[in-house]
Amino acid sequence: MSEDIVKIKGTKSGLQLSFHLGADFEAIEQDIRGKLESGSGFFTRGTVIQVAPDALKKEDRERLRKLFSQHGVLFRTTEPVVLQTASETAVESKVPVQPEEDLQQMQVVNRTLRGGQEIRAKGSVLVCGNVNPGAQIIAGGSIDIRGTCRGMVHAGAYGDSKAVVIADHLMPMQIRIANLIARSPDEMEKTEKAERASIKDGQIVIEPIER
């Protein structure tokens, strides 16, 4: 059965792709194309798909990456070697693909977000103003707040665990990065320095930064 050629499994950092041993690449590509085009809503834009580095030949991987990026899905090898990612981005910039650009675009919000207001973005978000309690930001990329953050922020909402949250005063109700959630301490003090929240060793860590 064709369903067995490609297997998709949910992991901490996104979706893991694996193939039936000895399956022919044409069949794999056909199967994935079918899944993407069925429009089941399973592959949301910005979803991260991973594949073991040795599972495919380099040119096949490139073809799959293009196929996925047409549907706005990020395609990566499980452990990206630094050099390789660099060469991949180089290829990307030569061949600009629309959805990728969407993902990299930063949305700028030039006002204070008040209770009940919500920003959803595929890429990163920059807020020039405060994020008040009851407001929320859900971003595929990182979130930068030039002001006080008291609402709920979710960076890397589609699985990007490298996303960060930065604010001049970082005191949100909750910080979510990728699939991790941290809630605020019950007694919150106003911080003097700008802070950054990121994932370190599988935990959300907040540290002061200069800016």
Binding site: L113, R114, G115, N130, N132, P133, G134, T148
Partner: protein, 263 residues
């Protein structure tokens, strides 16, 4: 040049109607032509605070549905010649008026009055949307209490969404001695979150309750702190620069101590 001001808050019970009545009387005391429009259909109170309940003949619904011209529904205040009330119906509900009708009414009222104050119902539903429709600017009333501030924040967001950008803040029912002890939000906490221009800080005053029950707004009482605070707000609305009263340390607090001293 006339101005349509909506007085709103989101949360109920923070003093929208009290503020509307007091500002109305205050502006009328300065010989401005003022009309107060109650849009809290079904839960009308503004007439009580002004002591005009027994003089109501027609209401807002009669006007918007075209049964009578608005002049027939206006109730003149007993004491202040230039103050009028346009009461609403107590039997209908909020769906009886729609935003277009209120905009049309406001435009008519503009020809006759200097200030049109609209008393908004609590909530963010239809009644609120109707009340803000015709307004040039908004006054958001809040209290130094976390839920009231949150709701005010939400309301400011809603006002922005409706393209109302001129928004002022009044903080009502401040208890200076509680702020002093740190048991109540202080002005810095409130400004931190709401970050809009504040035009009034009104202390909690027992005289507000007695005056409400008698139907004579507290602004007319010379010995009331809340009255003084409202008079200052009226001055600021008229464009004067008046510093905020520092009731926490001097006046109110020491007076309170004196009261305990006598006891």
């Amino acid at each position: 040049m006339s101005e349509v001001i909506v007085i709103t808050s989101g949360k109920g019970g923070v003093g929208k109607t009290t503020t509307t009545a007091n500002l109305g009387v205050g502006l009328a005391m300065r010989d401005k032509r003022v009309v107060l429009v109650d849009t809290d259909t079904g839960l009308r109170n503004l007439d009580l605070l002004l002591g005009l309940e027994n003089r109501i003949m027609y209401d807002l619904i009669d006007v918007t549905e075209g049964r009578v011209p608005y002049k027939k529904a206006l109730v003149r205040h007993k004491k202040y010649e230039t103050l009028f009330l346009l009461p609403t119906s107590q039997v209908k509900d909020k769906s009886a008026v729609n935003p277009e009708q209120l905009v049309k009414l406001c435009d008519e009222l503009r020809k006759e009055f200097d200030y049109i104050l609209i008393d908004c119902p609590a909530g963010i539903e239809q009644g609120f949307q109707t009340a803000i429709a015709g307004a040039d600017c908004a006054i958001v009333v809040t209290m130094p209490e976390i839920s009231a501030v949150r709701d005010a924040d939400k309301i400011i967001g809603e006002l922005n969404r409706a393209d109302k950008d001129s928004i002022k803040l009044i903080v009502n029912r401040i208890r200076p001695q509680m702020v002093e002890k740190g048991d109540m939000l202080d002005m810095d906490d409130i400004n931190d979150i709401l970050s809009i221009d504040c035009i009034g800080q009104v202390p909690d005053d027992e005289k507000v309750v007695t005056s409400t029950n008698r139907g004579e707004p507290v602004i007319a009482m010379n010995d009331s702190l809340a009255g003084q605070a409202y008079r200052n707000i009226v001055g600021r609305i008229c464009g004067e620069k008046i510093p905020f009263m520092d009731f926490p340390k001097d006046t109110f607090f020491t007076r309170l101590k004196r009261v305990f001293g006598i006891q």
